[in-house]
């Protein structure tokens, strides 16, 4: 069973007891426990102010939990629920894939690491298991950053989203009039499907964004002929203006595609992927990873695939 503060700052959930834990009956008391204490210390979290437990309460045969999941997790869930009831206000940190699957029913810790989810009235953040860091410490500082953020995630507030999706032609003009001014910086991204340019997205800040659609995924064009001329001209002006500054993620791809469609691109002043590479060349630079470090909302990069799966199932 778990142990720790009766009024913890954080409630940490691991996988299952290892040899040391099984012998002593205490969670995270072996090598992985020492790593966890060190991580918490670096993150400014006192382990004595945490509650630490495991999803599965017994040591699996040969220390290999894989074949017994999810049954073992479901069986032990009653004990975890009891521990959660006894510590009603603490936010949760899920250490590794097993805890992620057992609590949030999500897979792939590398996808969901660092993201913040709602769990009843609590906030929950998955991160990498300390034992994995013993094998490969490259993500050490990332986990420290996760734990540090976890302390304050109760106050986590994503910016309000004021998105214009499926605009009518007049809305584009209104949005540009309100938000587009020379000397300002815009955040641009495109989506493609095969050879088609599905849409161009523009954010004026962290909340206000407009999606300029071109093609539906079924192959039909969004605008009528007259409208399309207005939209293309509007995009041409926006993309070609060197004083409307653009920031992109992996802009080499986006600019190449846009140039292929005849748009001229000027004012591309920065690329978040390259900026991150310059600061942390040994880490990943995908937008999903950057989102998990700098934004911390729920993982959204699979939303399109998730919906596709649901449609196929129905």
């Amino acid at each position: 069973m778990g142990e720790g503060s009766p009024f913890p700052d954080l409630f940490l959930i691991g996988e299952a007891p290892g040899a040391n834990e099984a012998n002593t009956g205490r969670p995270f008391c072996g090598g992985a426990g020492r790593v966890l204490s060190a991580l918490l210390g670096s993150a400014g979290v006192n382990r004595n102010n945490c509650f630490v437990t495991n999803l599965v309460k017994c040591r699996p045969p040969a220390n290999h939990l894989g074949p017994y999941m999810p049954a073992a997790g479901q069986h032990c869930r009653q004990y975890l629920d009891q521990e959660l009831t006894e510590h009603p206000n603490a936010n949760l940190v899920l250490l590794g894939d097993v805890a992620l699957q057992g609590v949030l029913n999500k897979k792939s810790i590398m996808k969901h690491r660092g993201c913040v989810y709602e769990f009843g009235t609590r906030r929950v953040m998955p991160t990498i298991h300390p034992a994995a860091l013993m094998r490969d410490p490259k993500m050490w500082n990332v986990v420290v950053s996760d734990l540090s953020y976890a302390r304050t995630m109760a106050r986590h507030q994503l910016p309000e989203q004021r998105f214009v999706i499926e605009p009518i032609i007049g809305e584009i003009g209104t949005w540009f009039e309100k938000h587009v001014h020379r000397g300002k910086t815009y955040f641009v991204d495109i989506e493609t499907s095969g050879q088609a340019l599905c849409c161009i997205g523009i954010a004026a800040n962290e909340s206000d964004a407009i999606c300029i659609p071109f093609w539906h995924r079924d192959g039909s064009f969004y605008w009528n002929t007259e409208e399309s001329m207005i939209v293309v001209e509007c995009m041409n002006k926006f993309l070609a203006d060197p004083e409307l500054y653009k920031v992109m993620q992996n802009g080499v791809f986006d600019t190449s595609v846009l140039e292929g469609f005849g748009f001229e691109i000027n004012g591309w002043i920065a690329d978040t992927m390259l900026m991150h590479h310059l600061a942390y060349s040994e880490l990943k630079h995908s937008l999903a990873f950057l989102h998990s470090i700098y934004v911390r909302g729920a993982y959204y990069k699979d939303m399109f695939h998730a919906e596709k799966d649901e449609e196929e199932e129905s």
């Binding site: 410490p137 490259k138 954010a203 962290e206 659609p213 991150h276 310059l278 630079h285 939303m303 399109f304």
Partner: protein, 432 residues
């Protein structure tokens, strides 16, 4: 479904906005914000232009090379079957290879795969090749190399209708700032296959290569007097290295010793120990030197250039303490490697990263002059020109390469060698 895609698109946009604000602050804290805007971002634009240009490819020569490599593969197969003594031995079959090494030759297993089978991967073959001086290992490694080259550089390449092959160059592909190249990798094309590429009809290729760049930078970084004097007096530094490695007087160093020294010093520059050097020598050149022999050579090299080892100890200690390495142009590398794996990164990064940004700065200057840059292979840049542009371009390129650089507190000139011709790999030294 489409609406979800559009929403996803906007989530990407606002995520980029949030990431940009935070990472911009981090770049400023690290003191590399200006470096990003003056070096990295302009470089990505220049590199994109180069990637879009591509390199001209001679289709007839490609066909001839394909045939030549098919013959080579056949010859290697025959040689391996002869060594093994089985006409039906398949060099692509791991089962056949495993059976021959561990059953027929009776060699002890040195590693296993995830499924528990005896390993026959390249690393294992290299270890066995160094340990057991048997012709099979050399032949099999040679076969695998030829098959890989054939598949990668002769078969799986897309040639555009304008007879140009376009590679994707990345400015974020390495931790040191060097460019990398993909699909195909233009930086890794074997020397004998480079003649497939060239200048379009009526045009010429200029290749400008910074001479012994990394060795020069090691000399300047460490303040190694003997090497600096050698470079500044225009001496053949590989000969100096051979004298050190073999403990021979100048007149006793022949071509073989010089070439070996060049390779040996290159291997050890990356912090490789005797065992690693021994394996690289075998893999790259089929040279069999035991780890013991390599250790003795390293010892003599260290005695000849004590400043280099003193510098290495200093940078390693500093890197262990700060986990940050800064090159001479201001780029930083924050490393997350364990202390025990840090030596290679600590020795290599200041040198390779400084070399990379020196070449990148030259590359940017030449791009700014409107030159038709078509490839960058580590320390060299390739430019396509018309015959009329040749003389003027050579002068400008040489000036850009040899502009004095302030490195480790010294003002140094890094000399460059220029070659000109119509086919890459068959270029001739430039003569006025």
């Amino acid at each position: 479904m489409t609406r979800t895609l559009w929403e996803y698109n906007l989530l990407d946009c606002v995520t980029t906005a949030q990431v940009y604000r935070k990472i911009n602050t981090e770049l400023e804290t690290l003191g590399v914000s200006a470096f990003y805007h003056t070096m990295v971002h302009p470089l990505v634009l220049a590199v994109k232009r180069m990637g879009a240009r591509g390199m001209w490819l001679d289709r007839d020569k490609l066909e001839a090379m394909r045939t030549e490599y098919e013959i080579k593969i056949g010859k290697f197969t025959d040689a391996i079957q002869l060594i093994v003594g089985k006409a039906d031995f398949n060099p692509n079959s791991t089962a056949d290879i495993r059976n021959y090494i561990y059953n027929d030759l009776g060699i002890a297993i040195v590693g296993r795969t995830a499924t528990g089978a005896a390993s026959v991967d390249e690393a294992t073959l290299l270890k066995l090749g160094v340990k057991h001086d048997h012709a099979f290992f050399k032949a099999l490694l040679g076969y695998r190399k030829v098959v890989k080259y054939y598949g990668t550089y002769l078969k799986r390449i897309y040639i555009a209708p304008d007879s140009r092959v376009r590679s994707r160059f990345l400015v974020h592909g390495t931790a040191t700032g060097r460019l990398s190249s993909r699909e195909p990798n233009f930086q890794n094309i074997p020397y004998d296959l480079r003649s497939i590429y060239g200048a379009n009809e009526g045009r010429l290729l200029i290749e400008c290569d910074s001479s012994q760049l990394e060795l020069r930078l090691i000399a300047y970084a460490s303040g190694c007097k003997q090497l600096i004097q050698g470079f500044e007096a225009g001496e053949d530094v590989h000969r100096l290295n051979a004298m050190a490695i073999y403990g021979l007087p100048r007149e006793a160093v022949g071509k073989e010793e010089r070439d070996f020294a060049k390779r040996f010093v290159y291997c050890q520059n990356y912090g490789g120990g005797p065992k690693k050097i021994s394996e690289i020598l075998f893999a790259d050149a089929g040279i069999t030197k035991s780890p013991r022999e390599c250790e003795e050579m390293l010892y003599r090299l260290r005695a000849a250039y004590p400043e280099i080892w003193a510098w290495r100890e200093k940078v390693l200690a500093e890197t262990k303490r700060t986990k940050i390495i800064r090159n001479e142009y201001g780029r930083v590398r924050i490393t997350f490697a364990r202390d025990e794996a840090l030596s290679g990164i600590a020795y290599n990064t200041p040198i390779q990263s400084t070399a990379a940004d020196y070449i990148n700065s030259v590359f940017l200057e030449l791009d700014g002059l409107g030159m038709c840059l078509v490839n960058q292979v580590h320390d060299s840049i390739l430019i396509e020109v018309t015959r009329e542009q040749l003389h003027d371009t050579v002068l400008k390129v040489k000036t850009a390469f040899e502009r004095p650089q302030r490195l480790w507190g010294r003002l140094v000139v890094l000399p460059a060698e220029i070659k000109v011709g119509t086919r890459w790999g068959l270029l001739d030294p430039w003569q006025e």
